[in-house]
């Protein structure tokens, strides 16, 4: 059997991405692989329903039933009701044909503008969707294709999420209890010890355990969420914007922890709109634009724009503070916004 690492040569294109020199191939396979992910939302289409209503109205006026007669009114009312119930819906595509992968032992940063669908990628990996989402594509974990139920089984038992929203903590439960979680058959004493250790690591005193989420600052809540993910000893961490609200030292501590976690053989999918941060810690960068990954490349490629394949990646490069702003080909205002976000 030919080993996976044999196939990889530096910079070679493979599975839609090129590998960096430092990429570890611990398991000889992808820890996480997302293939052809497409997410659309079913939404009521106001414009379409009005159009249809008007069309039906026109037909009614030309038809035999006189709108002013009683049966005519009832018929029209029934038709309107039917139109309403038939719910003219529209599918709004948000993510399309997305490919991304994470090897064991590496951090892959997903960078892209706000609203481009990064959180939806995280949702797909966790197998959690809004009821109105239409999803297709395949998620492989540890080389095996997953379905909804196997992804559900992996939540908290292999894949852990650091959610984007600080509202992800139960407002009526003490923080310590939440971090320890409700895993079946867990060793309570061991979990308590681990929770204290994590709290200490992130500068959360023992008194924080007894606080409720409303008593935490934004940065404290972020650290608590981080502790939640690390608590469950995952193989893969999906971190959705884990650092906003943290001061530089704490943000760096969190990133260093991800690095250490990856060096220990774990995988991290780090979602961020901070390109600088991504470059400082990641092995590879997936550039996200308008609902898909346009380029998945080694961090080293960001040394020079010539190594970057996609114009948007080059734009990101130019927007980095140490590079020449003026040289950035101004294409979309969105890119500018991303760059500002990166500096902040």
């Amino acid at each position: 059997m030919e080993g996976h690492s044999n196939v990889h040569r530096d910079g070679e294109f493979h599975h839609h991405h090129s590998h960096g020199a430092s990429t570890h191939h611990a398991g000889d396979h992808h820890l996480l692989q997302v293939e052809g992910l497409t997410v659309a939302f079913r939404m009521y289409d106001d414009a379409a329903s009005e159009g249809e209503g008007r069309r039906a109205e026109g037909e009614g006026a030309g038809g035999p039933s006189d709108g002013s007669s009683k049966p005519g009114r009832i018929a029209r009312w029934l038709r309107d009701a039917r139109l309403f119930l038939a719910a003219p819906q529209r599918e709004v595509p948000v993510v399309h044909d997305l490919h991304v992968s994470v090897h064991a032992g590496e951090i892959v940063a997903v960078v892209g503008a706000s609203g481009s669908g990064k959180t939806l990628l995280a949702d797909a990996v966790m197998g959690l969707f809004e009821p109105n989402a239409l999803v297709s594509g395949t998620v492989y974990f540890d080389g095996k294709p997953q379905d909804a139920s196997s992804l559900a089984a992996l939540r908290g038992h292999g894949i852990s999420l650091v959610p984007q929203s600080v509202a992800s903590l139960d407002p009526l439960m003490r923080v310590g209890r939440q971090v320890r979680g409700f895993a079946r058959g867990g060793d309570d004493a061991a979990r308590s010890a681990r929770q204290r250790q994590l709290f200490a690591r992130y500068g959360l005193g023992p008194e924080v355990e007894r606080l409720y989420p409303f008593e935490l600052s934004g940065g404290m809540a972020r650290r608590v969420l981080l502790c939640c993910a690390l608590m469950d000893n995952p193989k893969l961490i999906v971190a959705d914007e884990p650092t906003p609200g943290l001061d530089l030292a704490l943000a760096q501590a969190a990133l260093a922890d991800f690095r250490e976690f990856a060096d220990g053989g774990g995988g991290v999918l780090l979602i961020t709109h901070d390109v600088e941060q991504a470059l400082s810690v990641a092995d590879r960068v997936a550039v996200f634009l308008d609902g898909t990954v346009v380029e998945e490349t080694a961090v080293e490629s960001f040394r020079s724009p010539d190594l970057l394949r996609h114009p948007f990646s080059r734009q990101l490069w130019h927007a980095l503070p140490e590079h020449d702003f003026a040289a950035a080909p101004a294409r979309s205002p969105e890119a500018g916004a991303t760059a500002e976000g990166g500096q902040a």
Partner: protein, 314 residues
């Protein structure tokens, strides 16, 4: 403060009512055969010509001494009648309040967790029917089905007929209480259940439940660990605002089941022109509803950590 206002309103309403104390006491037949002289004496005795404010003052001063006057219908001090009746009613309403709260919470959660599922449709449909049914009608239906047709429960009163009060056991009392209490609970369930259902849908879609799921918690675990604690408080609020409604329902239910509680006494006092008793009951019920809401508010502060911390800080 509130009670002062209530006492004034109660007194004016009762005084304005067309009930003639002399007629109410003496009876129609005796009244028509009575001499004018005697009538005048009686009217003076009942204070017919004393101005309203003066009568109010004497009533209130009596109240403050614990004297609520005498009941004509029951031929006993109002305080005594009210105390005995209130005990019966409080047990009835307390059970109904608790049972409808717990049942409503459970049904609401069951419905809300699987929105649109079979349980949801069943709960929603029955709650709409219940919310739309008049209390006395439900009470009559229960009485007919469980009391008359099935014969599981006695059809009225708080103890077996013809049994000496000393011989009445707890079991007897409970047996007689059951049907009115069940009826009152069933009537009160719809409101809590529907509110809890809405809340459950919110909670199940909240970021913290989503995150709990992302950490591998099953639906059952989510409901137990995060659902309940976030749903009990809103349910409690609804139940507190329901105290007055349960009280209103108890008047009808007591009437249908001839259950000797405050509500039934109020009805017979009203029909019999027993103004002193009527005023006394009105006052006590206002105090009960007010007290219930107060207790509930305090309870709320104790249960919700956000409120609790505010209290301890403020």
């Amino acid at each position: 403060m509130l009670m002062v206002a209530v006492s004034m309103v109660v007194f004016s309403l009762v005084s304005l009512s067309p009930v003639d104390p002399v007629a109410a006491n003496v009876g129609q037949a005796a009244l028509s055969g009575m001499s004018d002289e005697k009538l005048a004496t009686l009217q003076a005795y009942w204070g017919k010509d004393v101005p309203l404010v003066e009568r109010y003052a004497s009533w209130v001063s009596g109240l403050l001494r614990g004297d609520m006057g005498d009941s004509l219908r029951f031929n006993a001090p109002v305080a005594q009648v009210v105390a005995q009746r209130a005990a019966n009613s409080l047990v009835l309403m307390g059970i109904a309040w608790l049972a409808s709260g717990v049942l409503g919470l459970a049904l609401g959660i069951a419905a809300g967790v699987r929105r649109g599922g079979a349980a949801d449709r069943l709960v929603k449909a029955s709650c709409f029917v219940l919310a739309a049914s008049p209390t006395f009608w439900v009470a009559l239906l229960m009485l007919i089905v469980f009391g008359v047709v099935l014969g599981w429960f006695p059809i009225g009163f708080s103890a077996p007929i013809g049994k000496a009060a000393a011989d009445v056991t707890w079991l007897d009392a409970f047996h007689h209480l059951a049907l009115p209490a069940i009826t009152l609970s069933v009537v009160g369930v719809a409101n809590v259940a529907l509110h809890t259902r809405e809340k459950t849908i919110d909670v199940m879609g909240s970021p913290y439940v989503r995150f709990a799921r992302a950490r591998g918690e099953s639906t059952g675990s989510v409901v137990i660990h995060h659902g309940l604690r976030n749903l009990v408080l809103p349910a409690l609020t609804i139940q507190c605002s329901q105290i007055a409604e349960i009280f209103g329902g108890s008047v009808l239910v007591e009437q249908v089941f001839s259950y000797p509680g405050l509500g039934q006494a109020a009805v017979s006092a009203g029909i019999g022109g027993d103004t002193a008793l009527l005023a006394g009951i009105a006052l006590v019920s206002a105090a009960l509803v007010f007290g219930g809401n107060l207790v509930a508010n305090i309870l709320y502060g104790v249960v919700d950590p956000r409120m609790r911390k505010e209290y301890s800080r403020g």
